[in-house]
């Protein structure tokens, strides 16, 4: 029982970064723009959080430093999001390649900056102030649920709240209606008076900024520094979560949790006595194979936004 509570806790810890990134990807893709740049946005966010928090520490901000780093991440990442938006929305570039460019450029430039800023070092200095888990008074004392749900990083609560907010915006507000219309059938949206490319542009920016929070989360909850490998593949897993979650905020949230649980389980099983003789690789395989199995048994027809990947040009036949 205790172990399950701990497993749930671990799931949230792992999933938080993925939730942010997946939500960012979701917003972009619902507007009709493929977001293969999630990895790059996460890198940028992780980098910014590492660097800014470090300098905030140097300036004596102490406990406020990680918050400053966290909030700085989307601001800096705006640069990369702009790149994706300008190329794929304004200039109708292939959205896949534009995302790949974001990944390549974010990775190379942030590593380069780290070397410049920290005298050739391969990582930012170790942060002294990062997020620590907060125990919500009273609730965290409860048996089981206390450990499982009420003793988490503050950013985890933010991620959960964000998923709900985005759900609300997407399905209950005019903005959401327009956003979905733009991704489904931009021609209709345009003739109904919605500025399609402007909305897509903003969606790409917003998506990039939100995804960057995922990167910042990795730096500020797990790594305490930023290095070459801080983000290696999480962005793609987040993209998979968007698709797995059928482009729905709650679905993507659930998919991110699923990956989280698969990761958390992997460690837990390894330390069980009975599992000693199973090759470790089987556990490493687990999250990925499990995902495929679940997809095989749940898949229905594709539910991607109909205009995903198609640049909108009013004059085009």
């Amino acid at each position: 029982m205790e172990m399950i509570a701990f497993l749930i806790n671990g799931t949230f810890v792992f999933a938080t970064a993925l939730i942010f990134a997946a939500l960012g990807g979701l917003i972009t893709e619902r507007a009709g723009v493929i977001n293969l740049g999630l990895e790059g946005f996460m890198v940028s966010g992780a980098f910014t959080a590492g660097v800014v928090t470090y300098y905030a520490e140097q300036a004596g901000m102490a406990g406020a430093a990680p918050w400053i780093g966290f909030l700085a991440a989307p601001i800096f990442t705006l640069l990369f999001a702009l790149l994706h938006a300008i190329a794929s929305v304004r200039f109708k570039a292939n959205q896949v390649i534009s995302g790949i460019v974001v990944n390549m450029l974010a990775a190379s430039s942030t590593f380069f900056f780290v070397k410049l800023l920290f005298d050739g070092a391969a990582e930012t200095p170790l942060l002294q102030n990062v997020f620590s888990k907060v125990s919500i008074p009273v609730l965290s004392e409860l048996p089981f649920v206390g450990v499982a749900f009420f003793s988490l990083y503050p950013v985890t609560y933010i991620a959960i709240a964000l998923a709900i907010i985005i759900y609300f915006i997407m399905y209950r507000t005019p903005l959401g209606l327009r956003l979905r219309a733009v991704g489904e059938h931009p021609g209709s949206a345009d003739t109904a008076g919605v500025r399609v490319n402007r909305l897509r542009f903003l969606a790409v920016l917003a998506g990039g900024m939100i995804a960057s929070l995922g990167g910042a989360t990795v730096t500020l909850t797990m790594n305490s520094s930023f290095t070459f490998h801080t983000i290696s593949g999480q962005g793609f897993i987040a993209l998979a979560a968007v698709i797995f979650g059928r482009w729905h905020p709650i679905g993507a949230f659930g998919a991110a949790l699923f990956f989280g649980v698969a990761q958390a389980v992997k460690d837990q099983i390894q330390v069980i006595e009975a599992a000693k003789h199973i090759p470790n690789e089987i556990f490493y395989l687990l999250p990925y194979v499990l995902t495929l199995v679940v997809l095989i048994f749940t898949s229905k027809k594709s539910s991607s936004p109909a205009a995903l990947g198609v640049p909108y040009e009013p004059g085009k036949r």
Partner: protein, 512 residues
């Protein structure tokens, strides 16, 4: 001359160029308050382009747009909407997974606090629906409603936005006769209320029925503007193409031969498991054209797809020359001599990003002489395309341009050439003239009749009663997945057919 203040929309010297073509060449046009103005012109004459500029979708290269006596710059549709212009496009602009209400309020939402307030919108839509007799279901998902309802939703979108200048681009091309009648009535009502309307249509009858004036466009230029009351359909057609066209289909009586196609008790379910065909039986003889009349959505598409192997048959049989054809693959069906002019030329009939030559061999590319040992024979393919272009008068810059770049009429000609030249025993033509101008229509009809006269079995599926009555030798009426009656053109008329299609009147069954 009408007084200046009566002109709500004026176009002065509008010019629009596309690569290699001047789509609109210095067009002048006036729309008066409360009138219905028809725009008439061949396929590719530039009608849609002109209206798209008025609605802000395209930007003119030259010229000015004046609204209520003021020059305006129409840079986006939202600007047009703001200025009281509404447009129903040739291809519907609806978001399929959204509800009717969501589609209507999109871009003009009402809010309650931060949230979308659909409830009050539904109320308003209901009111408008009642007032204009649009009969709209606000909560239905657009994906699932009939084309006619979609058309009315488009109209509702305009009304909801309070537009005064209404533009309709071929609104009747996809409607049934009943729906057309209803629509025309609605338009008249709107004009009577003082709204000003421009309607594009290829159907002269409709122009005669509702338009006050008709502006004729040929190759991007305004040729003339006529008072409809004093003009004849023949005159309009003549102005449009620049020569005499016969509006009648000339054909000899059929001389049916042996029974070629036999369909027995056909049952088909769609993807969601719903019964779409429920025991359809009929047969077609060599040398006759059988028309299938019916309202869209009563099983026509499923019937065609089942006959061509594109859809699974649940039970029943399809025999051609006695051989069973049900549930064979499309490839085998076509190889057995079934030609198919599909209903949706963009979705099925053509690979739009293939060249004209590649599209010419879409069904024969894999066989000698188009390919040998798995390798395409480019020379033969090109020659085939050249042959089609020559004998079907396809207007294209060459064989190696993309099909996408041709006008709708010419795209259709590629398909017709391909399907007829394959020399099928059985030709299925679904909506073969949808969206075509009168010249093109008469061309297609001639081809169908020529096929019949060459001893082929022809199945013509159409929502156009005119077409069915003019071209078919025998008429089957489909309703709710069943053949509910059979008749001949001489034994019926539009009214009777219309009633049968609505399931209200049985036909005289000659061979049950």
């Amino acid at each position: 001359m009408t007084a200046q203040h009566d002109i709500v929309l004026e176009l002065k010297g509008l010019t629009k160029r596309f690569p290699g073509i001047v789509a609109n060449d210095s067009i002048d046009l006036q729309l008066r308050k409360g009138e219905i103005l028809a725009l008439l012109g061949e396929n590719g004459a530039g009608k849609s382009t002109l209206m798209n500029m008025v609605f802000g979708l395209y930007q003119p290269d030259e010229g000015e747009i004046w609204i209520n006596g003021q020059p305006v710059s129409m840079d986006t549709p939202s600007k047009a909407i703001e200025l009281g212009i509404g447009m129903v496009h040739q291809h519907f602009k609806l978001v399929p997974p959204f509800t009717v209400t969501e589609n209507i309020v999109l871009g003009m939402e009402t809010k309650k606090g931060l949230a979308l307030d659909l409830k009050s919108s539904v109320q308003r839509i209901q009111e408008l629906s009642d007032r204009y007799n649009l009969n709209i279901k606000p909560h239905a998902v657009v994906d699932t409603i009939s084309v006619g309802m979609q058309q009315r939703v488009e109209i509702m979108k305009i009304l909801y936005r309070g537009a005064d200048i209404l533009i309709f681009d071929e609104p009747t091309a996809v409607l049934t006769p009943q729906e057309i009648t209803e629509l025309l009535a609605i338009l008249k009502g709107l004009a009577a209320e003082g709204k000003s309307i421009i309607i594009i249509t290829h159907k002269l009858k409709e122009i005669m029925e509702i338009a006050d004036r008709c502006t004729v466009i040929r190759r991007g230029k305004v040729i003339d503007t006529l008072q409809v009351a004093t003009a004849s359909p023949e005159a309009l057609a003549e102005r449009m193409v620049g020569r005499n066209v016969s509006l009648h289909v000339d054909k000899e009586p059929a001389t049916p031969g042996e029974r070629l196609v036999e369909v027995k008790d056909l049952h088909v379910k769609d993807a969601s498991g719903q019964d779409m065909l429920r025991g359809v039986s009929f047969d077609i003889r060599a040398g006759e054209i059988v028309g299938i009349a019916g309202v869209d959505g009563n099983g026509q598409s499923e019937l065609i797809e089942a006959l061509t192997g594109m859809m699974k048959v649940d039970s029943g049989s399809i025999r051609m020359n006695g051989a069973e054809m049900a549930n064979l693959s499309p490839r085998v069906v076509s190889e057995s001599g079934v030609g198919h002019i599909p209903q949706d030329r963009h979705k099925h009939g053509l690979v739009l990003d293939f060249t004209v030559s590649e599209n010419s061999v879409l069904k024969s590319y894999y066989n000698s002489p188009m390919s040998k040992l798995g390798i395409l024979q480019e020379n033969n393919i090109r020659k085939e395309a050249e042959r089609f272009i020559e004998s079907y008068d396809i207007r294209t810059p060459g064989t190696e341009v993309l099909a996408r770049s041709l006008s709708g009429g010419n795209q259709q000609k590629i398909i017709i050439a391909r399907e007829i030249e394959a020399n099928p025993k059985f030709l299925i033509a679904a909506q073969p003239t949808r969206g075509l101008d009168v010249g093109a229509i008469s061309f297609v009809h001639k081809q169908l009749i020529a096929e019949r006269d060459a001893g082929k079995a022809v199945l013509l599926v159409s929502f156009e009663l005119d077409e069915i009555l003019d071209v078919a030798d025998r008429i089957l009426v489909i309703f709710n997945g069943q053949i509910v009656g059979e008749t001949t053109p001489s034994a019926t008329n539009e009214q009777k057919l219309g009633l049968m299609m609505a399931g209200k009147l049985g036909g005289e069954s000659s061979n049950g």
